[in-house]
Symmetry: C2
């Protein structure tokens, strides 16, 4: 579990915001400093008030730094809202909440981006300044934007998610820019690292958090070619999404909502799948070539995050042993 | 003292930040709502952290809205600094202090400017939102920037003023863009208004606050041609600047520092000049064509601001009467 000699992390996690950040925090706690790299979805990123806002990077950053608000799930703990109050008084757009301290992240990121710095290098600076030893990488330094087609027409993800509160019926999703976007170089390097131990896809919303990454052809190929085991944790327990609009969106798109849905969606890139013990009966129906384990995947406190992280790593190690046996046997 | 039938203010004040805002507040208190227009210097405006910051407009806005911090003289009262603390933690530039609530003004202004709105129309919206009936106009919607040549080379005004604390020796000043800049249309309209009663140049720093306006040829011409009396209040009392670097800068530029200095600098545009009673002995040396009165011009509280405002208006009315007599007699 120590940092690889090359300096590249040996465990890579793919994550969206709140749900994924729980497992990312568990992994962060059980893996040595520098040995974990977390890849953050950038499909939700947007420009608001002239500021570059990266909701998933920010949630992961605050979570790993111990600054996250434990109740809201986003933003910083002990936040104040003087800026928002003054903005509303001035008649500015107040539909997206930005706390006073949180604002510094967006302003400083925007300032650095205007100077030509990449999102990944800026994120690295922020990790260092906030004392986060885990590497946090945007899925891409290029622009990939999730757009939602609803009964009310195409809209940006934030328009759908925050302003419209996920109320319009979803008809289609589009990850604008995904074909041309290059994955972050650090991610590709980590996935090629001979010392790579495991890739873990966190229980984030497949449609909104993971597939904007997999929609980049180079990203998906790198996962397919990765020699280490790739495993995913189900975002659905007992036919219900643990958090957020996953189930509603899958249903509106005519997709099944069950504990194996993510396994089917990621079948070409994963070797293993972790579903909840309540869904253990589904295991026999898992896609060909995907090993399944069932455990309690509901993360309600730090202890359960750490336990699930350990179980994911143990599962990956088991898979690696059998993959190695398979390889030597072939 | 009522609002002119045309809707245009009948008293116009030219002002920089802190010092000028004191007299602007006095005038605001003694003139009917809508009858006062304050022209704010824009030479200090700058882009910082990607935000359009207009220090003099903001000081005037907060002063007239009753939101100004009474101790610091700039920014908002009861301000908090969570944004600055977080920015410093992230390693961002922390040399220019931006309070949490104050920040909303810069962010919202920047957002509106990016949409193509003019600085004057944005300022009008802010006045309305903050309940300020006095018209507040930027001297120009175009870019005029004060630059300072010092022993350390040319620098922006804010670099000189805030970052370097006015320490370098000033060798020259430049108001970049002043030749091509057009004064704000509302200002020109007000100066042409047949019902105009008086123009009052506040006791602001001539070099930094008033001359960036007068350096616009159309602005200076409009003041020269103005039919109403134009008066100025001295920013210097007993050879000392009331506030800020006026005296230091004048000295370094080889200019006299006395109660008549502003009268000499503005001689071609003013009809009257108000100096402090301690400088009354200088009156006989005033420029040809400039009437002088001496009074207590030190504004230490609201009462003295109101008193000086009343005295300025009375002086202007006296001048108007004699100008009228002169005109009818010619």
């Amino acid at each position: 579990m120590t940092r690889d000699a090359s300096g590249s992390p040996t465990v890579v996690a793919l994550s969206g915001g709140i749900g994924g950040a729980k497992l990312a925090l568990g992994l962060h706690r059980v893996i040595d400093a520098g040995a974990l790299g977390v890849v953050a979805n950038v499909g939700d990123d947007f420009l608001h008030l002239g500021l570059s806002i990266c909701p998933d990077i920010d949630t992961l950053l605050y979570t790993l730094a111990g600054l996250a608000d434990p109740v809201r799930g986003w933003g910083r703990r002990d936040e104040t809202w003087r800026f928002m109050d003054a903005l509303a008084t001035l008649g500015g757009p107040a539909w997206f909440q930005l706390g006073d301290a949180d604002l510094a992240l967006h302003v400083e990121r925007t300032r650095r981006m205007a100077r030509g710095e990449s999102l990944s290098s800026i994120t690295a600076v922020f990790c260092e300044r906030l004392g986060v030893a885990t590497a946090l990488w945007p899925a891409s330094d290029d622009v990939v934007r999730t757009r939602v087609r609803t009964s009310a027409g195409w809209m940006s993800f934030q328009e759908y998610f925050v302003a419209q509160r996920c109320e319009p019926v979803v008809e289609a999703l589009d990850y604008q820019g995904c074909e041309a976007a290059r994955p972050c170089a650090h991610v590709l390097e980590a996935l090629r690292n001979p010392a790579l131990r495991a890739v873990i896809i966190a229980p984030s919303n497949p449609l909104l958090s993971i597939e904007p990454m997999l929609a980049m052809p180079t990203f998906r190929d790198a996962l397919r070619l990765c020699h280490a085991p790739v495993i995913a944790v189900s975002p659905i327990i007992g036919g219900v999404a643990v958090k957020g609009p996953t189930a509603k969106m899958l249903q509106e798109l005519g997709q099944p909502i069950d504990g194996l849905e993510a396994a089917r969606r990621y079948a070409d890139v994963i070797d293993g799948y972790v579903l909840d013990q309540r869904d253990a009966h589904l295991a026999p129906a898992s896609p060909v070539g995907v090993q399944v384990v069932a455990t309690n995947i509901l993360m309600t406190n730090l202890e359960s995050k750490v336990r699930l992280a350990r179980e994911c790593l143990a599962f990956a190690d088991t898979l690696a042993a059998s993959m190695g046996a398979r390889t030597s046997g072939s």
